[in-house]
Symmetry: none
DNA sequence: GATGAATGAGGATTCATTCAT
DNA sequence: AATGAATGAATCCTCATTCAT
């Protein structure tokens, strides 16, 4: 591999790759090391143990997703614009960096159980941004939602469902990915917006 | 464990339990056997190997979900009723038999790659029921959808997203499960129905 | 398999087949039973254990080889004729019933260590016939050998070497089996015979 | 065991020992490790798997036998001398390093089927040396053979038969090993040599 | 005669991790 | 900063054998 890239990053990158391609249970320290071309011991110079590696993976992905969404949101004007920016930011991240996106959801219970609770809060940052945006929309009467928190979580959950189906290749082969995605996101969003063009 | 229950069923039950609680990668033949209180060898009397066990698990869950949905659909009158029955059937199954529901999605790529393709088709049975129901609804002008197949898949994906969030305990603790679920399902469904009570 | 054949014989036959095709280490009671289409337990109705089965296998092969050679020897007139009959009997048995022949040599030390010593003596029956024949030949001045016992063993060993090479498929592909065999046997025998056609 | 000897060599040595004493089917990675006093895992630091270990064993034995014979052949003058040197080289190797000799023939079909074909060719090196020597002998009219290739293979097969009988302890206890060997080799060789001392 | 259910021991192999260098 | 050697525990799976029926 490219020798310019710091080993730590190579480890994270390779881990993500394995996780994405082969799933959690076939991620092994040795395989990572072999793929990179270093000794397995070297990984321990950067990560205390496998859990630490996995947690770092999650943490960095969550952080990157948060930043991506925040960046997208910043450029938006007005709540509707920002609302859509957040959703598109989420979907775009998922498809542009699927390996990083998957990490957030793939590493399940076992590793998660040992994941420091406080770091979960970070993950909520952009969720709270969504809640705030919805509340603004309500105030400006452009978004129609009863419970912003519930709506925000629901949107997130639905988006995740839609994105997962595509990324996990569970989509029926007769359906066009892009069309499916556009339609689905549209459907998720539309119910929340106040119809401006009533005849 | 209860000695009345056939060992084969105990194995399946225990496997599901492990899968649900600890995730795919910590499901081992030994652990299953130990939990039940039999030798690991005994499992091989009922299943050729771990793959066979996992595939049986998936197969039975898919079958049970299909039957549950079909049963719910049968009792319905008219496309809208049936549309809602299918969706409720799905959600109810997920919450009444979460371990069985999870199995369908949890056992990922590795094992799936070796899962006989023909059995996937069975899984589509209730998906096709949904498509047909939507098409009927369109014919009767009670459902408004451009591409029934895309819509059906989208609904399924969104439902799965919503259900997963709850089952995986990723829901914000301040949000009430039931409310979240009701609101979400409502939101997923409503966009498709032709508004009958327009003022 | 043919239901006419007694199970005991089917077991022996199948065992020989496995031994010949796959070697000693992949001969398992279950595989034998599966191949025949009975339960593994059934084998124990006819054989106390695996050792007993193997020993029976050896014993029957040795017996059959002995009988074959004795039969061949009986028909011969005079020591030279009988000498050649014995050798041809050995070689013919090896090639007509290779699976039975191989059994005699294939099942090695481990099982042999537990093989009742007295049964080894049986195996010597035709060896002693050879010794006696040689001695007769010496008496009649048609065979020229200093130590009949040594010669007999040597002949046997050389024949086994030659036969093994062919049966184990270790023969160079450019060499014709039959020619190799004929030449080799010829060479082994000829040194012992008194040249009758000396000018 | 001696701690001076590299583990890799100890593994090979111990494997040979097991193979020789107990036969192929009771050679297990664990047993090897236990005998040496290391963990079974350690073997995998030097050999990819059991096959690799077995193949290495064969390869090294074949190589050593080849070298031994070539060395013996080099010192000889003239084809007859060399002819005998080769044969003696073979027999001497078998008796001086019986464990290494046995390896060449003992590891049968199963493992052999996966043995890289190209390495078989190496094994033929000294066989071809024998062929060449016979051809030289024919040219110089000291060896009388019609088909050198066939003869070479036949000699090899007969030698192997004789050597095996002794090494496998199948020799009648009343027969002296050395005498048996000397007589046998003599008998194998003599037929090929042109009688120089005709009266 | 024959079997199904069950098991303890052992098979090869992989794993995360440690330690001395 | 990096590694080679080593390991205990775990993985799936197969084996010969037993026992009740």
């Amino acid at each position: 591999m490219n020798e310019e890239i710091p080993l730590r990053d190579q480890i994270l990158e390779t881990s993500r790759h394995f996780l994405f391609e082969k799933g959690h249970s076939s991620l092994s320290m040795r395989k990572i090391a072999n793929k990179i071309g270093v000794s397995a011991t070297s990984i321990y110079l950067y990560f205390d143990n496998k859990d630490h590696l996995l947690h770092t993976l999650i943490e960095e992905s969550v952080e990157e997703l948060s930043v991506a969404i925040e960046l997208a949101a910043e450029e938006a004007n007005g709540p509707i614009d920002r609302f859509e920016a957040i959703i598109n930011g989420y979907v775009d991240f998922a498809f542009n960096k699927p390996e990083k996106y998957q990490v957030i959801y793939m590493v399940r219970s076992e590793a998660m159980a040992r994941y420091p609770k406080e770091k979960f809060r970070k993950a909520r940052r952009c969720y709270e941004l969504l809640v705030k945006t919805i509340q603004e929309g309500i105030a400006k009467r452009v978004i129609k939602v009863e419970k912003p928190m519930v709506a925000a979580y629901s949107i997130w959950a639905q988006l995740h469902g839609v994105v997962s189906v595509v990324l996990n290749q569970r989509l029926d082969s007769r359906i066009d990915r892009k069309e499916f995605l556009k339609e689905s996101v549209n459907h998720i969003v539309e119910g929340f917006l106040v119809r401006t063009t009533v005849s």
